[in-house]
């Protein structure tokens, strides 16, 4: 399985949401990391044939996916970022309906639905109406429908958004379990989500891919260093004006700062190993954001 994106571009009027993206994917987990509005969802919608690109092509094993049409979608499983259900359908009805949309024959659908309900942990809720499910359960139903056709290409748009920490970890494990032998593209703006499960990470900003590579490659791509130091409270705003601050921890007698900078910001500052979070901050924030200052 090979997906090639060639100068993929999507414009909404004058606004370019996805800008000449060029990349190739094979089996494995790809983590798409970007701030709000980076163009992640738009890119994924094109990959799911929901939006027609303004320019460029998406080619699956040598064939244009828009020409393959149903043949391509047969390989596809998609969990959208925001999506609704048929409120009066039970989980089971819903999955059977999606199975029929995917052209799965009833006998196989029956088996798949049973397996997946168990796998995503919805056995007790299978006969509950969709409108009665909690947010986490809805996402489970969402991942179950994406997996119904045992897709070769699985696209997950912010699968862990809005989940509590426990649920998020369980969900992450589920995804990592499901991602064997497939091409998985998952987007998030939460670094820890993909740090562990993605083989390759893409940093996306303003519709473009800034950096791609393994977590280590991305970390090493950062030209600046990370420092840790302890300062008095009244100095914090000074530092914030001068440096990118990747983390800040208040203590009784001062504040511990994590600073991204080429030169040593303070005599007693210690150089530390950069994390993916630091890199994320480095690429996505012009300067330490004001919202972080409030922490």
């Amino acid at each position: 399985m090979k997906l090639e994106l060639e100068n993929l571009t999507k414009k909404f009027g004058n606004f370019t949401a996805v800008d000449h993206v060029k990349i190739t994917m094979t089996n494995g987990v790809y983590g798409l990391l970007g701030v709000n509005g980076a163009g992640k969802t738009t890119l994924m919608r094109m990959l799911c044939t929901l939006l027609k690109p303004t320019g460029g092509t998406i080619v699956c094993d040598g064939k244009n996916i828009f020409e393959m049409d149903g043949e391509y979608r047969r390989l596809l499983g998609y969990l959208p970022q925001e999506f609704g259900f048929y409120p009066e359908f039970t989980v089971r009805d819903y999955l059977f309906y999606v199975a029929s949309l995917k052209g799965i024959c009833p006998a196989i659908a029956k088996k798949r639905v049973r397996e997946l309900i168990a796998k995503v942990g919805l056995s007790n809720a299978a006969n509950k109406k969709m409108k009665k499910l909690s947010g986490g359960m809805k996402r489970r139903a969402g991942i179950a429908q994406a997996m119904l056709n045992n897709p070769k290409i699985l696209i997950l748009d912010e699968p862990t958004a809005g989940l509590d920490p426990n649920e998020r970890i369980r969900f992450r494990n589920l995804i990592s379990e499901l991602s064997e032998e497939r091409l998985v593209l998952l987007s998030t703006h939460i670094v820890s989500d993909i740090e562990y499960i993605a083989n390759e990470i893409w940093l996306m900003k303003g519709g473009r891919l800034l950096r791609t590579g393994t977590a280590d490659e991305i970390i090493n791509s950062m030209p600046e260093k990370v420092w840790q130091c302890f300062v008095e409270k009244n100095m914090v705003s000074d530092f914030m004006r001068k440096y990118k601050i990747s983390n800040m921890k208040s203590e009784p007698n001062g504040v511990e700062l994590r600073i991204i900078s080429n030169e040593k910001p303070l005599a007693q500052a210690q150089s530390v190993k950069a994390s993916l979070e630091d890199v994320f901050l480095y690429y996505f924030e012009e300067k330490a954001g004001d919202e972080n200052a409030a922490v």
Binding site: C48, L50, L51, G70, R73, L76, V98
Partner: protein
């Protein structure tokens, strides 16, 4: 897939409520129709319902048979006897009512004689009293000669071809008429248009969300990214719409017909519609008129429903789609009242639900030298329009993007 599409429609709360209303309407309209048939008993009391219909039927069927010259004269004699009876001439209104109650068995025959001897545009209740018994037997000749006289009078604007068509239709009507109790069919046909209109609006309401709800529920991403989302799944939505239209139309029309005719009686199906609609150019029976009316109604309902689904798919708004049947079926008749362009208004889709009126009036269309009844043109024309709209609907949904 189809059964899930239908399930989606009928698990919606609004549609469940609408279904309930539709059932109530069915009962109400059936009751109103049934109450149109009245019987006056020998004490002068008026009644409606099953037993009233039974009694009236018995009275009328005493006269069942072909309305030959002989039969018409007998009826005229009976009428004269009643009119000149002691009771009818008395000053006591109760006595009068009683006398006239004896006329119920021949009331329809009296009406057609009156029609034959009235001026073209006015029905004269007493026309029969001004003619001889022999004259009463000439109604069939009068029907044709009245038409010719009117066409020659210059009061109307028919073309030569249309005049010829009317005359030939009149002349080819089979006489003598077969007569029996027809009040069940008669009441049904007079009122069924209202019921069809209500039914069409409800059906339009049911199907209006089939396409747009996908967007409104935000289920569109998963729908369109599925393998069959841009082909077979659209067909199954269209199939669901068609099944709902057809099944609801058939079941509710059948129920209404059954309720009305079970109470009022189904005799007279094979009597000519002219017993009721003396001037009709349609040489058909009550039952054939019924078939014409419900076929037109079905095509009208289907047309409104398909347009509603089209708007549903194009605007992605269920509310907008819901309004469409109202515009097509309710606003057009209103428009035709202010437009006064009978040539165009005769082709509005609401006419499909008003076929009873078309059967009653001279609604003709002419293509070159060929003249036809409007009904025989608009019913197939709108059916063709439905078929043409289907691929449009399919394409709109197939091309939909999820933004």
């Amino acid at each position: 897939m189809l059964q899930f599409e239908i399930k989606k429609v009928f698990t919606k709360f609004k549609n469940k409520m609408a279904l309930l209303f539709l059932l109530v309407t069915l009962i109400a309209v059936s009751m109103l129709t049934i109450n149109r048939v009245e019987y006056i008993d020998e004490n002068g009391g008026r009644s409606v319902g099953i037993s009233a219909a039974r009694s009236l039927r018995a009275e009328k069927n005493k006269w069942a048979g072909y309305l030959t010259k002989n039969a018409l004269q007998q009826a005229a004699e009976e009428h004269a006897a009643i009119v000149n009876s002691e009771g009818a001439l008395s000053n006591d209104t109760r006595e009068q009512d009683l006398a006239y109650s004896r006329q119920q068995g021949i009331s329809t025959i009296v009406e057609i004689i009156n029609s034959a001897f009235s001026e073209w545009r006015d029905y004269n209740y007493y026309a029969i009293d001004g003619i001889s018994i022999e004259d009463a037997s000439n109604i069939y000749e009068r029907r044709v000669s009245n038409l010719k006289k009117w066409l020659d009078s210059g009061e109307e604007t028919f073309s030569k071809a249309q005049k010829d068509f009317l005359i030939s239709q009149y002349e080819s009507l089979k006489t003598p008429f077969y007569y029996e109790y027809t009040d069940g069919w008669s009441a049904l046909l007079q009122n069924i248009s209202t019921f069809i209109l209500i039914l069409a609006l409800f059906i339009g309401f049911f199907v209006s969300g089939i396409f747009s709800d996908e967007f409104q529920l935000r289920a569109d991403s998963i729908f369109f990214s599925s393998r069959l989302g841009r082909n077979r799944a659209i067909l199954s939505k269209m199939g669901a719409g068609f099944s709902i239209v057809t099944a609801f139309y058939a079941v509710f029309i059948l129920l209404h017909t059954a309720i009305v005719l079970l109470v009022l009686g189904a005799d007279g199906a094979n009597c000519p519609i002219q017993l009721d609609l003396w001037r009709s150019v349609y040489n058909i029976t009550f039952f054939q008129a019924y078939l014409l009316i419900i076929t037109g109604g079905y095509v009208g309902t289907l047309f409104a429903a398909i347009l509603s689904m089209l708007v549903s798919a194009a605007t992605r708004s269920t509310a907008t789609a819901t309004i469409v049947p109202f515009i097509i079926l309710c606003a057009f008749p209103f428009l035709s009242r202010i437009l006064t362009l009978p040539q165009i208004c005769a082709f509005f889709p609401d006419q499909l639900l008003e076929i009873y009126i078309s059967v009653k009036e001279f609604n003709l269309v002419q293509f070159g030298g060929k003249v036809m009844n409007v009904v025989t043109v608009i019913t197939p024309a709108y059916l063709a329009a439905c078929l043409l709209l289907l691929p449009v609907l399919y394409r709109i949904f197939k091309k939909a993007e999820v933004k």
